[in-house]
């Protein structure tokens, strides 16, 4: 599947796909394919990170990403500590950098961080020697999600180069969209983003994507669609249409899929708002790879943790 180009991984952190070359992204995908085999074994554990400690530092609620990182670290034999914001000293006013320095004083090797501020992992990475892996920062990037989307897509269709991929829904608030755009365009896919005007950020076309407000146009020729979650919890300014309006215009239903290629790949980063961005029939249907994305997430995160942990410092 992957071509076996030999590159040497040199980055101590994974902050975003913006900062990676095509070769580095391909190297992660190649390594992830090797780890995929590990996750199918009866004993799903290898000693590659024995004696290393990973802390999951989550300033935003998350279940699937945190569990996925935790499982990935445990399957590499690392020790894992979970710090949620509600239980930490952040509540007492500690700054991110101070938290980082304290984590470092505890001799922790890898910090997996999710933060509601864009760029927080970058700041943390500069101030600590430990590796920092971005598990989602504000509206900026969610690199491991995009990597697992791309990994899943490539295992389904055998390639990324030349594919037509449409990203549909709340582009404005979506770090998943941004990371996917960086990754897919670097690997040579043609990317279209589709949403109502209020959910398209200004200047997004500078990232090399086609922009449309017409869903049929976005899905008709697509090899794959990545349907984003409506981040209803972020609705503070009234930019969101009502749920029923959104589904009528932009929701992916079986009826809607009739104009698409028969074997179109349907992705969703989860959690799904059934009946808002996607109908249940589509989410559970033949074209959906949503649960494969979840499975592949562990292999991709194992690969990322392995690569950053063993970088030459």
């Amino acid at each position: 599947m992957a071509n076996e180009k030999k590159i040497v991984w040199t980055k101590k952190d994974l902050l975003g796909l913006e900062y990676l070359s095509r070769e580095e992204i391909e190297h992660i995908l190649y390594t992830a394919a090797s780890f995929k085999e590990v996750t199918t074994r009866q004993i799903k554990k290898v000693p590659a990170l024995r004696g290393k400690t990973v802390v999951n530092l989550f300033y935003e609620p998350s279940t699937r990403t945190r569990i996925s990182f935790e499982l990935a670290a445990k399957r590499l034999s690392a020790d894992v500590i979970n710090v949620g914001v509600e239980s930490s000293s952040v509540r007492k006013g500690e700054t991110l950098i101070d938290t980082g320095k304290n984590i470092e004083a505890l001799k922790i090797d890898i910090i997996v961080v999710r933060h509601d501020c864009s760029g927080a992992p970058n700041i943390l990475a500069r101030s600590v020697k430990a590796s920092v892996v971005n598990a989602g920062d504000g509206w900026h990037e969610h690199p491991t999600q995009a990597l697992l989307d791309i990994f899943t897509l490539r295992s389904k269709l055998g390639r990324i180069e030349g594919l037509d991929v449409s990203i549909i829904g709340d582009i404005a608030h979506s770090r998943v969209a941004r990371s996917n755009i960086w990754g897919l365009t670097k690997l040579g896919a043609k990317v279209t983003v589709c949403a109502p005007k209020s959910l398209i950020p200004e200047g997004i076309e500078k990232m090399g994507v086609k922009v449309t407000n017409d869903l049929d146009e976005a899905i008709r020729e697509a090899d794959a669609i990545n349907v984003l979650r409506m981040q209803l919890e972020r609705d503070t300014s009234g930019v969101f249409p009502t749920k029923i309006d959104f589904f009528r215009q932009y929701g992916i239903s079986e009826e809607r899929l009739k104009i698409c290629k028969k074997d179109i790949v349907v992705m969703h980063p989860g959690p799904i708002n059934r009946g808002v961005e996607m109908s249940s029939q589509v989410a559970d249907g033949q074209n959906s790879v949503i649960l494969e994305q979840v499975t592949n997430g562990i292999a991709v995160r194992m690969a990322v943790l392995y690569l950053v942990a063993h970088v030459k410092r």
Binding site: E4, W9, S34, E37, V38, A48, K312
Partner: protein, 182 residues
């Protein structure tokens, strides 16, 4: 580090002869009740395992199952290796429970790779027994490990390197003794 070629130890014909003899020995040691499988250590051990399986088929009419094992994740020098090792996929598509496994590698040196491979294999199940076949044994063991089937014993100095080149990965079949130059 650069390598300077000193001498060719085995050519294509000599490699085939050695493998054929090893295939005979593996068959000779097989009890009729045992099911033998070959597992090659990636990358070159895996190619040698395929070649050995072909020889075994030519002699006995039955080709044993062949798997390929990547031992990177079990290495004891992951944190010290000069260059980050690339993780390749392990391809063992059969159950190793109760099988007689012949582990195959190109060169037996310190024995550390074999130690990793044993750890890795045992995570896949409980084989009946594990034996070791290597194309070249160059000495300098650092662990209590020995081979059951050896293509050729080559006495070497520590600063020397035995390079096994195979058509599948290197375009030709030969074994060459090289010297490290700093």
């Amino acid at each position: 580090m650069q390598l300077k070629e000193r001498s060719k130890i085995l050519d294509k014909e000599a490699i085939e002869k050695a493998l054929k003899r090893m295939a005979h020995e593996i068959i000779e040691n097989t009890k009729t009740t045992d099911e033998t499988v070959l597992i090659g250590i990636k990358n070159r051990g895996a190619h040698i395992a395929e070649k050995l399986a072909d020889h075994i088929r030519a002699i006995s009419g039955r080709r044993p199952l062949v798997g390929a094992l990547d031992i990177t994740l079990y290495r004891d020098d992951l944190t010290q290796a000069s260059e980050q090792p690339v993780v390749h996929a392990t391809e063992i598509t059969f159950d190793i429970e109760n099988k007689r496994i012949v582990l195959v590698d190109d060169v037996l040196f310190t024995g550390r790779t074999i130690r990793c491979a044993l750890d890795a294999l045992i995570d896949f199940g409980r084989p009946k027994l594990i034996q070791l076949a290597v194309l070249v044994d160059r000495g300098h063991r650092e662990l209590p490990i020995r081979a059951d089937y050896v293509g050729k014993n080559i006495p070497t100095a520590v600063n020397e390197v035995v390079e096994v080149r195979l058509s599948e990965s290197d375009g030709k079949d030969e074994v060459v003794l090289c010297e490290k130059i700093d």
